[in-house]
Amino acid sequence: MLALLHDLTDPWREPLLRRAFLEVALLGLAGGAMGCWVVLYRLSYSAESLAHSLLPGLVLAALLGLPLLLGGAAGILVAALAVALAARTPVIGRDTAVAIVVTTLFGLGALLALSADSPPGLDGLLFGDVLGVDDGDLWLAGGLVVALGVVLGLGHHRLLAVGLDRLSAPSLGIRAGVVDAVLLVALAATLLVAVQGLGNLLVVALLVAPALTAGRFTRRMGPMIAVSMAVAVLGGWGGLYLSYHAGIAAGASVAGVLCVVALLSVALTRRRRSPRTRRGARSRAPSPRTSPSAPAGR
C-alpha cells in the first residue's frame, strides 16, 4: 500500500515531472472538450491532417530560432490554402486533395528535420517533448483552456444546432459557415498548443480518444464534455506514470493509455448498447411499410 503511494507521489517530487503533469492536465482539459466537437462534427481526419501538415512550419521555426507557435500557425495556414487550391482542381476530390497536401508537407517537414545539418532535438516536434515544457508553454496551455472555455461555452447551442441539421440552421438565425469557421480556428489553436507537448504524430490521440470514450457512457453533450475532459486528464496522467515507472517515452505513453482506454470502452459498451437500441426500436409505432397506407382520418 505504502509502495503504491510512493509510486504515485515519487514523480511529483521532480520539478520536470510536475510541469509535465500540469501541462498534460491543461492539454487534457482543452483537448477533451474540443475533441467532443471534433468527433461529433466528424473532423477527426481533418484534425489529424492539420496536425501533420504544420510540421514544416514548426521545423523551419526551430531552424530559424523563431517561436514554434509562429511557425506552426504559418504551417496550418499554408496547409489550409493548399488544400483549398488542390480541392478546386476538378480531377482531384477533396479527400484526395487533403491526403496529397498533407503527405507533401509532412514529407517536407521530415526532410528538413532529419537532414544531417539540422540541430538535434527536432524529433521532439514529431513525438512531443512533454518533459521539456517551460513556463511559457504552461501559460500558453492555460490561456488555451480559458479561450476554449469561452468560445465553446458561448457557442454551445449553436454548435449543437448546426451539427444536428446544418441545412435548417439559417432558419434559426445561425450562420453555419461562421460556426464552422469558429470551430476550425479553435481546432487549429488547440493543435498548435498541444503539438508542442505531444508532437505532430500523437496529438490527435488527445482529441479523439477521450471524446470517443466519453461518448460511449453519456447521452448528452454537457456530460460528454465533462467525462471527456476527466478521461483526458486522468488518462494523460496515467501515461506519465507509465512513462516514469517503465522508463518509456512520455508522449507515446500518454497517447497509448488514452487509446487503450478508448478501445476498452468500445469493447465494454458494445453489449450494453444493443439492448437499448432494440428497446428503442420496439417502442416505436409500426413502420409505414407494415401498416395500411391510408392517410389520416379515414
Binding site: 461529433l40 461555452g153 458561448l154 454551445h156 447551442h157 449553436r158 449543437l160 444546432a161 451539427g163 444536428l164 441539421d165 441545412l167 435548417s168 439559417p170 432558419s171 434559426l172 438565425g173 445561425i174 461518448g215 453519456t218 447521452r219 448528452r220 453533450m221 460528454m224 428503442g280 417502442s283 416505436r284 409505432a285 409500426p286 413502420s287 409505414p288 401498416s291 395500411p292 397506407s293 391510408a294 392517410p295 389520416a296 382520418g297 379515414r298
Partner: protein
C-alpha cells in the same frame, strides 16, 4: 383579413442561375393551412427559402410575416447527444444575441412548446430515440419557440405511420385555428384536399385556391407532368401523383 404571406409575380433564382421558380402570386391569410404541391425539384423548397429571406426575389414582390421552418426529420442526425428539450431550445437562438446562452426562461418556453405538441412526458428523451412522428413534433415545438406567425413545413408527413399522421394532422389544425398560417409542402393530394388552400407549383405557379376548385385533372397533370398516374377504373376523376394510394373514395371530409 390581412394576409401574412403575399407574393406578386415573384421569381426566385439561386445565385448565377436562371430562376428556379417564376410567376408566384398568392396571398395567404392568417389561420389557414396551405398545401404546397409540386414534383421534386418543382420549386417547393425554393419558395420556402425565398419566404425565409435566404434567397432574394429575382423579380416581383414578397411581403411575408416572420417565418419558422419545420424541416424534414430525416435530415437530422440521430446519433447526436441531445434531448428533445435541447432541440426545442434551439428555437430561441434566433432572438438571442450571439453572446447570450439560452437560460431558464428559454428552457421554460421550450418545455411549454413540447407540452403543446403532446410531448410533455418526453422532454428528457434523447431526440434520436424518439419515433419519426415524435421527432417531427419536436421540430414543430422548436418552430413554436421561434414565435413566428407563419410556419413552413417541409413534407412533415413523409415516413409517418397512420397514428402519427393523425396526431400531426390534429396538431396542425389546432395551430392554424390559433391564427397561424401554415404552408405545408406535400406530395399527398388527398391530404391537400382536406386543407384550406392549395398552391400548385412546377417551376412556375400553376394554380392557387381552395382545393375543390384547384385540384382538377388538368392542374394536376400540369403540376406533376408525366409522372401522374390515373387510377385504373377511376374514369379520370381520381389522380395519383407519385405517391400511391389504394383507395378511390375522396368525396368525404376528414373529422378532426
Amino acid at each position: 383579413m390581412t394576409a401574412l404571406v403575399r407574393c406578386e409575380g415573384l421569381a426566385v433564382a439561386y445565385p448565377g442561375r436562371p430562376p428556379a421558380l417564376t410567376g408566384v402570386s398568392f396571398a395567404a391569410p392568417a389561420g389557414v393551412r396551405v398545401a404546397v404541391l409540386g414534383p421534386n425539384g418543382g420549386g417547393k423548397t425554393t419558395l420556402f427559402r425565398a419566404l425565409l429571406g435566404e434567397l432574394p426575389a429575382a423579380a416581383g414582390t414578397l411581403d411575408v410575416a416572420r417565418c419558422a421552418v419545420v424541416p424534414q426529420t430525416e435530415r437530422s442526425r440521430l446519433d447526436f447527444p441531445v434531448s428533445a428539450l435541447d432541440v426545442a431550445v434551439m428555437g430561441a437562438l434566433s432572438r438571442l444575441p450571439w453572446w447570450r446562452r439560452p437560460g431558464r426562461a428559454e428552457r421554460a418556453k421550450a418545455a411549454e412548446a413540447l407540452e403543446r405538441v403532446g410531448l410533455g412526458d418526453r422532454i428528457d428523451h434523447t431526440f434520436g430515440d424518439l419515433s419519426g412522428g415524435q421527432r417531427q413534433r419536436v421540430l414543430v415545438a422548436r418552430a413554436l419557440v421561434q414565435d413566428a406567425p407563419v410556419l413552413l413545413l417541409d413534407e412533415p408527413f413523409s415516413g409517418l405511420d397512420t397514428a402519427s399522421t393523425d396526431r400531426l394532422e390534429r396538431l396542425l389544425a389546432d395551430l392554424a385555428a390559433e391564427g397561424r398560417t401554415l404552408l405545408i409542402a406535400t406530395h399527398d393530394v388527398d391530404q391537400a384536399r382536406t386543407w384550406d388552400l392549395v398552391l400548385c407549383v412546377n417551376r412556375h405557379q400553376i394554380a392557387y385556391g381552395p382545393p375543390a376548385e384547384t385540384l382538377t385533372l388538368p392542374v394536376l397533370e400540369e403540376t406533376y407532368g408525366a409522372s401522374l398516374l390515373a387510377l385504373p377504373g377511376s374514369d379520370g376523376q381520381v389522380v395519383c401523383p407519385p405517391h400511391h394510394h389504394d383507395h378511390g373514395d375522396h368525396d368525404h371530409d376528414h373529422a378532426h
